[in-house]
Symmetry: D2
Subunit: 363 residues, 4 copies
């Protein structure tokens, strides 16, 4: 099956290249009679939009989204929803060198090898520009989830500098250009990234996204476990190299006693977990606790320092990237991670509705 779609019942397909006339997506499987208008989507796109601080690419894209189908009188109709964003600031005149050279860390070489052709302008289909449509689809997914489920994301590490988790404050996330929940770390990162940007270098990052209010019972064992689909969703984002759930790689270091999330009954008689090493998922099914997902983004591959590479004619070359690029592409990955979390949950919410039994207590 062609690879530009994601999801099973809530399923969307993206299309478009970085420097083509437009990018877009078709979201299929949206239940009918949900209120939806362009501003509902624009809100989330604006958070991801490039050029909002000196720490993200200076490409100026208004990213103005249009709804072309599937909505009538302000409500979804159950028909596919087509979303489209025109590319405005696509400076594709000067791609002389990049045209034939393979930038290290980029997909230039593999696209050329796989397809025998590539749209080299701005990375073409491999550009992070595609993630705008993930955010757009994520906005629709949030409508499916409803107000009871909250999804938030934060940057928790740039380079080797991690936040102090005891200083976590979700309110801080909106106050700095990094989506950083730790005010102290945000101050340090400001200095760090200013320097990195001046040097024409780049750094990687770690993002954490959290969903609260998720009902018990989402996830389809064995292969479509909620965590398995989340791992795929996050790893499919450009530049992501690792994904973990709950205690993640740290769980390897725990003893069985420490790792087990014990259960008690809450005052309302409902189950309460005393810890959340599981990240809200057991056996591939949501527990009702917060879903906690982290993912690592590698440093932007476009840097000023020349790197050795080859071109498609078989010559050895040296490449340094000028142009407009992010010193830490991880920053803009925060809203993208949130969107993917929303999308996976919306899909599994619909899947759970379909196959639960005649009088299931869950949901």
């Amino acid at each position: 099956m062609a690879g530009n779609s994601f999801g099973t019942l809530f399923r969307y397909t993206t299309w478009g290249e970085s420097h083509g006339p437009a990018i877009g997506c078709v979201v299929d499987g949206v239940p009918p009679r949900l209120p939806l208008a362009a501003p509902d989507i624009q809100h989330w796109l604006d958070r991801r939009r490039p050029g909002q601080s000196k720490f993200t690419t200076q490409r100026r894209e208004p990213d103005h989204v249009r709804i072309l189908s599937g909505v009538f009188d302000g409500l979804t109709t159950g028909a596919p929803i087509s979303l489209l964003i025109e590319n405005v600031d696509a400076r594709s005149k000067d791609y002389g060198a990049i045209k034939d050279q393979f930038r290290p860390g980029h997909a230039d070489y593999t696209y050329q090898a796989k397809y025998g052709i590539r749209d080299y302008r701005g990375g073409g289909r491999a550009s992070a520009r595609e993630t705008a449509m993930r955010v757009a689809a994520g906005a629709v997914a949030r409508k499916v989830l409803g107000d009871g489920i909250t999804i938030l994301g934060a940057l928790i590490q740039i380079g080797a500098d991690r936040i102090d988790r005891s200083a976590w404050d979700w309110n801080e996330v909106e106050k700095n250009p990094f989506w950083c929940p730790d005010a102290g770390a945000a101050t340090r990162w400001e200095r760090l990234l200013t320097e990195i940007r001046k040097n024409g270098s780049s750094l990687g990052a770690v993002i954490e996204v959290v969903a609260s209010g998720v009902p018990v019972g989402l996830g389809e064992p064995v292969y479509d476990k909620l965590d398995a689909d989340l791992a795929k969703a996050m790893m499919s984002i450009n530049a992501v190299k690792g994904v973990e759930i709950g205690a993640g790689f740290g769980a390897a270091e725990l003893s069985g006693e420490k790792n087990a999330d014990e259960m008690r009954l809450g005052n309302d008689g409902r189950p309460v977990f005393l810890s959340n090493n599981a990240g809200g998922i057991l056996g591939g099914i949501s527990t009702g606790q917060d879903i906690v997902v982290r993912f690592a983004v590698k440093p932007t591959s476009s840097i000023l320092t020349p790197r050795r590479s080859i071109d498609r004619f078989g010559n050895e070359v040296e490449i340094s990237t000028k142009g407009r690029h992010d010193p830490c592409v991880g920053i803009r990955a925060v809203p993208v991670g949130e969107a993917m979390l929303a999308i996976v949950l919306a899909d599994h919410l619909l899947r759970h509705r379909a196959t639960r039994g005649p009088s299931s207590g869950s949901e």
Copy 2:
């Protein structure tokens, strides 16, 4: 779509519970005229089989596999291949307490909440016994990949004790009960796990699986990237909490200069990478380098020390697990990780064949 299948063109479906009459799988999409006989599959099952050392569960299952369809005169026919293993040593008489209680860290609670019913005998469908069929399907996948692609796995960390990567020797892997490539670590782990087992405790682990000889060009951007499918494959294995490719979470700490895998031309005129932080995948497509995947397994949740929990009638209880269980379930995850890597590669090999162009250079 129901969740018990994996893959797109090379697609298999598993069925069966830990203490039911049998477990099995159907592998569909296998190209015709590949030599295949039961011993080809049994070879890999024997590596995963429980009860082979004191460090894995003492359940005694011969795991004798039968091929029920899809093979004729020793060759695959293109028809679905049905594989079946009878459950022999399923001691299900005494499940009194477990029947109604939710063991912490297990899927008891979530299965009950999702389905309103669960086969509590030995974990039912959520049992690691299901992974036997992953190994069986992986054996078929290896036939699809052919001899040119080699897949190996190793345990590189138990608890907080990591191997010395400079001491890596693939030959060591077969010489100790841990699939450990570092002889020194294997000696330490022997002591460590003996103690853990005596205490009725457990530890987590990290596994690394590597594929060599993979051609350039496998992977279907944007959502079915090779690394995205690998992340899903590994995260779907029981008890896995994290997955990373190449430098993985470590990539977050690297500068763009250090992370970029530079390229030169080899003596044979073919591209050579000078490092492999990418783990053999760029833009979701294989580069021709080794594919390197790591995943973290949490400590076995079945431990002797009592843990607090609840039962399905809303009572608070304390649970300790006696029975036969692994002190480190990560050990047996090594052949399972290998199998999942083989399965993802086989699927993408077929997908690449289907859609590459009329005269593509790759493969």
Copy 3:
């Protein structure tokens, strides 16, 4: 995607060859807590079983079905249900000639050309024996549909001899070996088929299957219309060459005035249709009327009269089939058509549950 599965949410996969050790299927996506036991399935298999009259193949198969997974304490668990039937009366000793020759009208030539190998014993995977597993999966589908939906099938034409529709009596269907609803036609067919059988010839047939009690709203436009999925389901049955819904090909001859099914309000204030040319489906969605599907089965290709053909070595040959075969394979297609109708409806019932809106009136 490999071709041995059918359905989206209610999805089953069949495996097995006519003369292999067994045939089976895995039914995935079955909601939990539905009562299910082997006799529920055996009941329907017994209706399809060969050797029950002189008008169907004399192969003697008890077709004893076993449930190997997915059912616990008499209820489905939401896990995949594995069903298995052992092949008992597979006389495969003598396939000398057929082994290398392509029987006209059979899949021998195309399987050989496509796969370069074929299990020639009894038709292998292309045998109508596969339809036993359709009936088994259909029995599970009926459980999903519940008692409110009734599915019945009838043979309405053998060769050029059609029933008199005004004489239709569903009670007659169980009283003759043809599932014929017209007692007069059944008497004629008895003579007709006796002669055909003596001559070693064969005849085609037309089957009609009807579902009553189907709620309004099943079907997913535009491509997964209920009628589109029914067309695929029926055409996938061995030997089927045509499918029609409601007025079917006859609709081409109607004027718009005659074809339109007018609507009025019934005594209970609910919509009533005054005719059913639509066959219970408008715009790909069920109307609440009876779903009416017809399909044509070609005459059995295995006949006594020699036919000209070739063998796989490039020689011209003449072939006549001895062995045990049906003079009218359409007879045994009746329960198979019923099963496929049940399967499509069960799948769409689950799909409709998943994506209907927050307060939909339907269902």
Copy 4:
């Protein structure tokens, strides 16, 4: 899975309503480096375009298609191809009555019942306007098939008036407004439809589509048989009520002797069939003969004569349709049927490439 996509490897998704701002589709899975430009698609759209004769709807749509992605330097890149057509002549001012009434034979009632909301303007998503995107996707499919495979369609029956098959001349098809291969029938139909149009009535039709040059081996038994997928493809077209392959329903009337397509060796030593009752498909796999598919289209439901119906408030009403509509919607279904045939074949060509064995002789 949401229902607006078709195909497995060659997979497209359509979106858009009759009177929305635009309609479009995304075609995914197209192999790279195929020459493709807008005129290649426009050519086929122009054949389907409404308003070209007095026998089709007078809606004036230029149906000007734009390629928004997936093509670079005149070649496909392997990325998804987004196609868009703006709706120009959408007169949606006056839908007063239709807004709340259910037109008999239309999808008004079922859409309202299923979704609880519907875009009533021009039929919304249920409009035949959607078929423009089938023709567009079909144009891309033809590129995948290459010049060796020819696909042609013809109208062979209007109302009860059938062509004389012995007068079949493919050259005639382009010479009359009906795609009629029999010049005599075309003359009769001119008179017939003129009268029908004056009366404000409508008639059904039968279409035949034929593919020549198809290689042996396409089709994936058991459930994705080539004929099963063709049946689904055709039945998913608006107003289609029946589909048949080769001899179709007529096969039911044949004896086994007459139905069997005998084989001989041609002068070139390759297999030759002496007849084609199978319609080019045996066991769900193409034989190398012409693929022959027929489908029946019901008469247009929009007619002048008042019909009884109800509205969504539960009142009984009478409805007659004025507006612009086709007296025989079957005419415009000819290019749509061709497109669907091309799409199914392209999908199966890619699927066959993926899974055939290491040295298969076919294709």
